[in-house]
């Protein structure tokens, strides 16, 4: 009989973790939230800082991807102009489900200081938003906290395909 190195009576017992499908899937999803690089204005600089070494988004498994098809979360970082509105909708549609949207900063939340003809007054007029981050621009810590809250939100939901569709229309 082969001598195992694992001692079943110690180290918490069997090398087996019992869990549910929901938990294991959500564990994977919430710890690998790949974000779409979507810096539209100065908030984009804070988003880049969050991804760089000082704040280090890689610790959360959040890696910026340049393609919506590889991304789970869209961080709308900056002013959304009316000319650009159709493209944010197209990029959002190109992301695979499940997908989440973080609206970062005053401009993306409400149009912010740009109370003008050319600015969309909140990107939630175009796409459904999961998380609004206040600030002009929000510090990288705010975005980190936002990603943590998003992780919590993902863990709280069912992992099955029967997710409630988040559509504006």
């Amino acid at each position: 009989m082969a001598q195992h190195k694992v001692n079943y009576s110690q180290d918490g017992g069997l090398p087996v973790a019992l869990t549910s499908i929901d938990k294991i899937v959500n564990w994977g999803r919430s710890n690998s939230i790949w974000a779409l690089t979507y810096g539209l204005a100065c908030c984009g600089i804070e988003m880049m800082a969050s991804g760089a070494s000082r704040f280090d988004f890689d610790r959360y498994g959040t890696i910026f991807r340049a393609s919506p098809r590889q991304a789970d979360v869209m961080i709308v970082a900056g002013t959304l102009t009316k000319k650009h509105a159709e493209f944010i909708k197209r990029l959002y549609d190109q992301m695979t489900e499940p997908r989440w949207v973080i609206s970062m900063g005053s401009c993306a939340n409400t149009g912010g200081m740009f109370n003008t003809y050319a600015t969309v007054q909140g990107c939630d007029r175009i796409i459904p938003v999961d998380l609004y981050l206040p600030g002009c621009a929000p510090r990288p810590e705010t975005l980190q906290y936002g990603v943590m809250l998003l992780q919590k939100k993902i863990r709280a939901n069912k992992a099955s395909n029967a997710q409630k569709p988040k559509r504006l229309m």
Binding site: A17, T19, K23, I24, N26, W27, N31, K82, K83, A85, E86, K89, T110, G111, M113, N115, T116, Y117, A118, V120, Q121, G122, D124, R125, I126, Y132, Y145, M148, L149, K152, R155, A156, L168, M169
Partner: protein, 268 residues
């Protein structure tokens, strides 16, 4: 678009009642006070019709006929060394006398002088393009077309430059409301979802100071979040926001400060 109404004193009336108030103007000097400008103006007057000329803020302003603009700028560039067109655009005087004032800001590097060529055109008239003289006029004339609707004849690509091609209206006109007309207000909704979506999405909220704690559709009160659409009564339970759930997270260790090691030696 709103109709033109005389706005001579509408906004200022509430703030002063001085009937003899005259808006301060930048003082004008004679062109003869600067010999370089005087020589330039004399050379210009020999070939073209100059309506008015003076010096303001050390820059000469010359009013010419609209039809002369190409010849004047060519003459300035080739003969008088004004080799750069810094800027050109229009000023809306439609409310006053239904005209636009077009200006061309010129710079001479050798003379270290700036001069401004100006003329008036009627509403609906086009200007002659100077794009073949100055490449910088390419985008400037397109922007003028975008913002005022003034076309430039002989321009190679007379299209909007900043706003989308299907935009209606010219935002730098004084009649254009800052927050946009109805077309602008619904532009993105109409384009993406269609007109029938207007009722679903609703009008833009332009009041920046608007705070409605009973509105659970848009923003939540921090610490008292409720699901979207819930009717808020004001007796909501506090909702403690923590990084992690109470019972911990599957396969993720909870951070405990006591178990972590703090490096107090900066040199280490």
């Amino acid at each position: 678009m709103r109709a033109y109404t005389p706005k001579d004193d509408v906004q200022a009336k509430a703030y002063y009642t001085d009937r003899y108030y005259v808006a301060p103007q930048v003082p004008k000097q004679e062109v003869e006070s600067d010999e370089i400008f005087a020589a330039d103006l004399a050379a210009l007057k020999e070939k073209f019709d100059v309506k008015e000329a003076f010096i303001q803020m050390k820059q000469m302003i010359v009013y010419i006929n609209a039809s002369d603009i190409y010849g004047v700028l060519e003459f300035l560039r080739d003969e008088l060394t004004y080799t750069q067109l810094s800027e050109m655009s229009a000023i809306d005087w439609l409310a006053k006398d239904n005209t636009f004032e077009i200006f061309y800001q010129m710079l001479s590097m050798t003379k270290r002088k700036r001069l401004r060529i100006k003329f008036f055109i009627n509403n609906g008239d086009a200007v002659d393009s100077v794009e073949s003289l100055f490449r910088s006029a390419d985008w400037s004339e397109r922007e003028m077309f975008d913002m005022f609707g003034i076309e430039a004849n002989n321009h190679p690509f007379m299209k909007r430059i900043l706003l989308p091609y299907d935009w209606q209206g010219n935002p730098l006109l004084k009649t254009y409301p800052l927050e946009g007309d109805e077309f602008a207000a619904w532009y993105e909704v109409d384009k993406i979802y269609g007109k029938e979506a207007r009722d679903v999405i609703g009008p833009e909220i332009r009041d920046t100071a608007r705070v409605d704690r009973y509105d659970s559709e848009r923003f939540a009160r921090l610490g008292f979040e409720v699901p979207k659409g819930t009717k808020i009564t004001g007796n909501e339970e506090p909702n403690k926001q923590d990084y992690q759930e109470e019972g911990g997270v599957f396969l993720v260790k909870k951070f405990t400060k006591d178990a972590s090691k703090i490096i107090d030696d900066p040199q280490r």
